[in-house]
Amino acid sequence: MKEYAIDVPVEPPKELRSLFIPIPPEYVEDVYKSDDFLILVGPQHPGSGHMRLIVRVRGDIIQEVIPDPGYVHRSMEKLAENRLYIQNIPLVERPAIMDAANFNLGYIRAIEEALDIEVPERAKYIRTMLAELCRVGTHLYDAAILAVFLGHTTGFMWPFGLRELICEALVRVTGARFTSSFIIPGGVRRDVDESTLKWIYDMTLAMEKRLKSFERIFIKNPTVIARLKDVGVLSKEEAIKYGVVGPFLRASGVEYDVRKVEPYEVYDELAWDIPVSDEGDSYHRFLVRVNEIGQSLSIVRQCIKQMPEGRVISDQIAENGSDIRGAFYDSLSDIVLPAGEYTTLTEGARGTIIYSIISDGESNVPYRVRIVSPGWLYLRGFMESMKGERLADLQAIYGSFGYFPPEADR
C-alpha cells in the first residue's frame, strides 16, 4: 500500500517536554516529522507495571519501544555495603518477593563458597524444595498477570487461588508467606517435621489436579491461543544475541538451565527435564513455564521422598543441628569473608540470578555486592520482541515475559 505524506505542521505535545523523559528532544521531533506517534504507557497505566514504556507507533504497528525503568529502584547494592553479611539476607530477597528462596539461595551460596562451609544433605533437600515451591509460586503469579492483561479475569483469579497453597506450604515450613529468610549460611534455620512434608506432598498432587481445570479454561482457550500465538517472536539467534535468560531463552529453543549446567544443591541427584520449545512466541514462553510448574512439583515430591535424616545446620556454624534459634547472632554475626570475589549463578523462576560478593578480607560487611536479576537481563529481548507487533499486543507480550519491574530495578 502506498503511503501519502500530508504536509501538516505537527507539534510534539507539551507534556513530552515538561515530563522527564529519557529521550532527546530531537528524537521526539523526528518521530512527529515522520508521521509516527509517541505513546507513553505507564507508569500509572493499568497495563505497564512500575515502569514507563515509550512506544513509537506508526498506525497500529509498534516501531520501537524505549523502556524507562527505575521507578522502584531501591539501591540494594549500595544498601548491602553497610550491613553485616547476615543482615543482607532479608535485603537480597526483596527484588522479587515471590521468588524469595531463589534469591536468598544465590547470596548464601556465595558466602558458603567463600567460607568453605559444608552444607548437610538434609538442608540441601529442604533448600531445593523451597526454591522449587517459590518457582511454582512465581510462575503462577506471572500466569495470572498474563491472564488479566488479556482481559481473562478467571485466569487471573485461579492461579492466585492456587498460589495460596504454595504460600500455606511456605508458612508451614518457614513461618512466613514469602520473604522468609529461611536459608542461612550452613543450612536452613529450622528442621521440617514429617507432617508438614506430608502436607506439602499432598498439596502438590492437589495442585496438579486443579492445574488441569486451569488448563481447560485458560491455556487451551481458543481466544488465548489466538492472542498469543505467533506474537512477539524471538528466534534462537535473537534470543542469544539479546541475552535473554531463563524460561524465555528455553522457549526460543536454547536448552540452557543453570540447574543442569552447573548443578547446585541436589539438582543433579533428582530426575527432571528441561522444558524447551522451538517457536519462541508468546504462547510458548507461557507454555514452557506451565511445563516447568509440572517439573517443579515433581522435584518437590522427589525431595520429600528422598530426604535423608540428619542435621540441617552445618556443625561448623552451630552445635544444635536442628534449630538455629538462640545461636543465630552468636555464630553468624561476625563472619568475615576472605579477600576476593565470589560469584554464583542461580536459576531463579524468571532466569539466571547472578550474585557477586567482593570482600576486602578484614571488615564484617561486604565491600561490594553485585546483583544481576533476570528481569534486567531479558529487558532488551523483551523490547526487541515487540517491534512490528500491534499496540494491543504490547500487554500480551509484557505478560508473556512476566516482566517484574521491582526485580529488574533492584
Partner: protein, 368 residues
C-alpha cells in the same frame, strides 16, 4: 378555568379508553379512579402506550434490570472465580443492593471535567446517549401494550440501535485524550465489523416472517420458536450482540488493561455512572429484539389474574434470563485483538449471515 377542566376531561377520556386491564390490582384501580385528579394520573400510568414505554418493558424495569444485572454479573463471575463477590452492602440479601450503593456514591462524587475536554459536549453526551437507547423502546411491543404501533417496528429498532455507537465515538472525541481517541477509533471499527452481519441476520428473520411487524413475528412463532426456524441467524445475532455491547471476547473498545476503559477514561462521578451503564442498556434493547425475533416474544403461559400484564412480564422475564446466561462469557473468554475481531466480523460472520439469509428465504416460503 373551564378550558382546563375540559382538557383534563378530554385527556382522561383518551387515557381511560385504552387502559391496561390487570385483574390482580383491579379493586385498587377502581377505588383510585373515583378520586378526582388522581384518577387522571392512574389512567395515565395504566394507559397502554405510556405503560409500555415508561413502566414495562420500558424505563422503569430497565432501571430494575440495571440494578439486578450488574450485581448478578459480579456475583456469577465471583462464583466462577472462587470468590464471594459483593457482600458487605446488605449482608442478609447477599449484597443485592450493591449497585444502588455504587450509584449513590457516583451521584455524590465530584464529576471532574479536565482542561483538554470539549466541555459542553463532554458533559452533555452521557445524557444525550440515552436518546438512541430509549427511542427503540417506543416501538417495542409487549403484548397489547405498545408505544407506537407500526408494521415496520423491527426495522425501526435496528435503525435506532445503530445510532448508539455514534454517541460513543462522540464521547471519545469530546474527551480529547489519547486513550479515549484510540477507544473511539476501535469502537468505530468494531461497529463496522458487527453491524453488517447483524443487519443481514435481522433481514433474514424479516424474510422468514415476511413482515417487519413484531406482532406477525410473534404470531408465526406460536408453534416453533425462531431460534429453531433459523439457527444460523440465531448464532450470528448472539455474536453480534456480544460485539455490539463490548462483552468479552470482544471487549475491545473498552479494554481496561490496554486503553483504560477507552472512550470513558476521563469520566468520573455520576457522568461515569451514566456511561458505564450504556452498554448494559444497549444489551437490554438488543435482547428485547432478540426475544421477539427468536424466542417467541411475549407468548408464554397465560395467567388470567395478570390480564394485560402477561405480555410485558413474559417479555421481560425472557429477556432477563437470556442476559443472565449471556453474562457468563465474561468469565470464560479472553479478549480478541482488534484485527482478529474485524476478521471474524467480515469473514465468518458475514458468510454465516448470508447463509442465514438463504435459510430465512426458504423457511419463509415454507411458512407462508
Amino acid at each position: 378555568m373551564f378550558d382546563v377542566v375540559q382538557i383534563l376531561n378530554y385527556l382522561f377520556e383518551i387515557f381511560s379508553s385504552n387502559m391496561m386491564d390487570i385483574p390482580l390490582i383491579a379493586p385498587i384501580v377502581d377505588f383510585l379512579m373515583q378520586i378526582p385528579l388522581l384518577n387522571i394520573l392512574v389512567a395515565l400510568i395504566l394507559w397502554k402506550p405510556f405503560f409500555a414505554v415508561v413502566i414495562m418493558p420500558g424505563l422503569g424495569v430497565l432501571m430494575l434490570y440495571l440494578l439486578y444485572i450488574v450485581w448478578y454479573e459480579r456475583k456469577l463471575t465471583a462464583r466462577v472465580q472462587w470468590r464471594v463477590g459483593p457482600l458487605e452492602v446488605a449482608r442478609p440479601i447477599r449484597g443485592a443492593i450493591q449497585t444502588l450503593a455504587d450509584g449513590i456514591r457516583y451521584f455524590f462524587q465530584e464529576a471532574i471535567v479536565h482542561r483538554e475536554a470539549h466541555r459542553p459536549y463532554f458533559v452533555q453526551l452521557p445524557l444525550l446517549a440515552f436518546i438512541p437507547v430509549l427511542l427503540p423502546i417506543l416501538f417495542i411491543p409487549a403484548g397489547s401494550a405498545v408505544g407506537i404501533y407500526t408494521p415496520y417496528s423491527i426495522q425501526l429498532i435496528v435503525t435506532f440501535l445503530a445510532l448508539i455507537p455514534i454517541t460513543i465515538v462522540a464521547i471519545g472525541w469530546a474527551a480529547n485524550s489519547r486513550f479515549a481517541y484510540i477507544g473511539s477509533v476501535r469502537e468505530a471499527f468494531i461497529y463496522f465489523a458487527y453491524e453488517v452481519p447483524f443487519i443481514i441476520a435481522v433481514i433474514s428473520m424479516i424474510f422468514l416472517y415476511s413482515s417487519g411487524d413484531a406482532y406477525v413475528a410473534v404470531e408465526k412463532q406460536s408453534m416453533i420458536p425462531g431460534a429453531l426456524l433459523n439457527p444460523i441467524a440465531f448464532i450470528v445475532y448472539i455474536i453480534a450482540m456480544l460485539m455490539a455491547t463490548s462483552r468479552l471476547p470482544f471487549d475491545i473498545p473498552e479494554a481496561d488493561q490496554e486503553i483504560a476503559f477507552g472512550p470513558f477514561v476521563e469520566y468520573s462521578g455520576i457522568l461515569f455512572g451514566l456511561v458505564m451503564v450504556l452498554a448494559y442498556e444497549k444489551l437490554y434493547i438488543m435482547t428485547l429484539l432478540f426475544t421477539i425475533l427468536f424466542l417467541g416474544g411475549w407468548s408464554g403461559i397465560y395467567c388470567p389474574l395478570l390480564g394485560d400484564l402477561n405480555g410485558p412480564l413474559w417479555l421481560f422475564i425472557k429477556t432477563v434470563v437470556v442476559i443472565s446466561i449471556l453474562v457468563i462469557v465474561r468469565s470464560i473468554y479472553a479478549r480478541y485483538r482488534l484485527d482478529q475481531a474485524l476478521r471474524i466480523g467480515w469473514t465468518s460472520m458475514l458468510a454465516l449471515s448470508i447463509m442465514a439469509l438463504i435459510v430465512g428465504g426458504v423457511v419463509g416460503v415454507w411458512l407462508s
